[in-house]
Amino acid sequence: MSLSHLLVFVILSLVLGRIASARWRGRFLLAASGLAMYWLQPAIPIRHLDFWLPTATLALSVLVWASTAPGVEVDEDKRCLQQRQNRITALTLGGLVLVIALLRYTQPLCCLTPTIPPAVHQVLLALALAAGIGWAARRISGRRPWLHALTLFLLAAFVVLKSEFLAQAASSGLRLLNGQPTATASALDLRWLGFSYVAFRLIHSLRDRLDGRLPELSLEEFIIYILFFPAFTAGPIDRVQRFIQDLRRPFRLGLEDALAAGRRLLIGVFNKFVLADFLAIIALNAVNATQAHATGWLWILLYAYAFRIYFDFAGYTDIAIGLGGLLGIRLPENFDHPYQKPNPTLFWNSWHMTLAQWLRGYYFNPLTRSLRMIKQGQSSLLPLPLIIFIGQVTTMLFIGLWHGLTWNFAIWGLWHGLGLFIHNRYADWSRPRLAWLDERPGLKRLSELGSVLLNFHFVTLGWVWFALPTPALAWQTLLKLFGG
């Protein structure tokens, strides 16, 4: 998201927040989010793919809604009304896609997408196909095998996009289909904007439907939740149960809300476009890691990376929360001074909080629960430390691989998984032994300060794996940081 995008979004949000009546708020948010998705999508060298990927996001969202929406409503009038509203939403979405496609005829003013959209007959065919699949999905809505299959499909798409080898192969295939040369195929061709976050929201909806926790949502509400433009590209990953409360709440932007949102936006803009962008100049990367000739300066580059990644991500979150505030949606916090935390557990409770909470809810807790259920007689077969180890290490491995299927991200995940486990064991061991510190407040404060510094350096050294492309370079850099 650039500053020009942001300026347009702020103006749009101010207008929507101020003038949209309760009746039209949903429609406006739906249209704005849909248009923003196409507008933000970066250009892709595969012909028309920068149109098809946002369209696929939209189609997937409709498909998941159709698959998770409850069955027949008992009240006939209510059912008719709902069906009518959903039909209008579906037509609005189809119309939106068609209008974006028709912009190809407005050259040179064309287009909302970075390149010219495909021919209209192709778009109409795709819309018909999506409508057909949606209709079929509606017939089998709520069936567990189907919901599992959709979850697996999303995970598979995720694996393809995050794996350089598979993404490049997919790019070659798409180029072949398009009659474009395959020699220049690259994993970067599949830059599907927002998919990482969309996939989390969709899987969350599918899981909650399976567990019977998904609230009843209209198509309009569901699409706004999935594509909500302030949080589309970089989160936070809100829960639909919370999001929908704000969406259904009548809202008219007042001065107080506008100022609070404006303050948050300013903080976000400063963090992202001033601090993070300036720190990017000196942040550790694959080139300067080999060029730095002095250990001290290499530490500076690494610290710059640590703060750059924080200000960049936290800045985006502030911007999302600020824009959400203008629209009456209170997006959840994603960061809470993570570098001031004294241990890895608290760090992960305050860094990318919504992702950590998502994984805790949908992976860590179910996994550890099921491991505890493996019993031998009355007691659990696996010792508790082993269950914690498996849970923490695999959760962090998952978070690592979410950034990309590479050895470095895997090692970064393991680094944190092991850090969490070691801290967990140490905390159990030290709690009774260090109780006397409570009576020595000065010493306790000093110990806490030491813990913060230690934890900050643990996290910062972990960034070496994250920032550099190969394990060999990361290891070499780590050695260099300690004078090697």
């Binding site: 001065l255 107080e256 100022l259 100049i281 000196i282 300067n288 002095a294 300066w297 580059l301 710059a304």
Partner: protein, 371 residues
Amino acid sequence: MQNVSARRVLIKALLIFLAANLLFPVFSSSPGKGAEPKASPSLYNFVFPGRQRLPYGDQPDLAYNLSLFDLDAMFASHIIAAPKAEDEYRVVLLGDSSVWGFLLEPQDTLSAYLNAAGLSLAGRQVTFYNLGYPTMSVTKDLLLLEHALAYQPDLIIWLVTLESLPRDKQLSSPIVQHNPVPVRTLIETYALDLDPADPALENPSFWQRTLVGQRRPLADFLRLQMYGVMWAATSIDQYYPPSYDSPQSDLEADDSFHGLLPPTLQASDLALDVLQAGVQMAGEVPVLFVNEPIYISQGQNSNIRYNFFYPRWAYDQYRQVLLETCQQKDWDCLDAWDLVSLGEYTNSAIHLTPAGEKLLADQISQVTFKK
């Protein structure tokens, strides 16, 4: 939060923003303001080592360097801004990209080789400072000299070549165009044969001098400070492409030079008055002019042209004009035009390899000592 206080916050913020913008031109040292060199705050020579050459770079993310036009900030980032030792004999080198050291690492530039020679003069350690800057215009050199004099040089070595002397080149350098007020002052003070009303020297408007108008120079200043970290960490200050083309050897059969045709190049066609202004500006500080080495092609049409820049007739007459001017005005001059052999040029007819720079450094140090 009360609505009333919220409105006050907005009004106050607006007023502060307006005041900051309106007052900025008054207190800023932006290029549009004045001609006098001023000390600029800088982290160089304090937190980071000073740069060995002036900031210049088209690819900042790769070069860890950038082109900016704030001369005060540029000089403050240079090692010359560090305090001068009592036993130091300070020599500044002026010139174009060949002096700056295009494609050369800092230890391979002309000034580096001169420093490596470990010269001393009357018990004082001779230290050479690279104040070359990659564009060809002696007016640009004069502008830099004006700033350099604030750093107490004991000798000025000014490398020139014909391409930096035509009248039409004088105001074409971006750094000249972005410093219109000091350049105009130079033109008026030294009665240079240049047009102070030239459109290239357009004064920044009031709005361009406000805080908002000056956001790019301010950002450049901050980026220069940030790149200090990279300079300190890597000692890299330019991007070295993995390969480049050698100077053009086969030349076109074109004997024109900046619109001039044979047979005669007049002294008045060249900005020798700018060199004279430099000598006058330097006052007691001696100036040595060096006609820098050029690539002498042996390819197609090399009977017409020496290289991409110069037809033979123009360059030969330029050397004659320079020699006569040096004799008439009693300037110290060194003609090194054919000092460096063909193989010691990198990507242009004036850019030397490390070996070429070393050869030139040896020649200059001999002349410096002789004088």
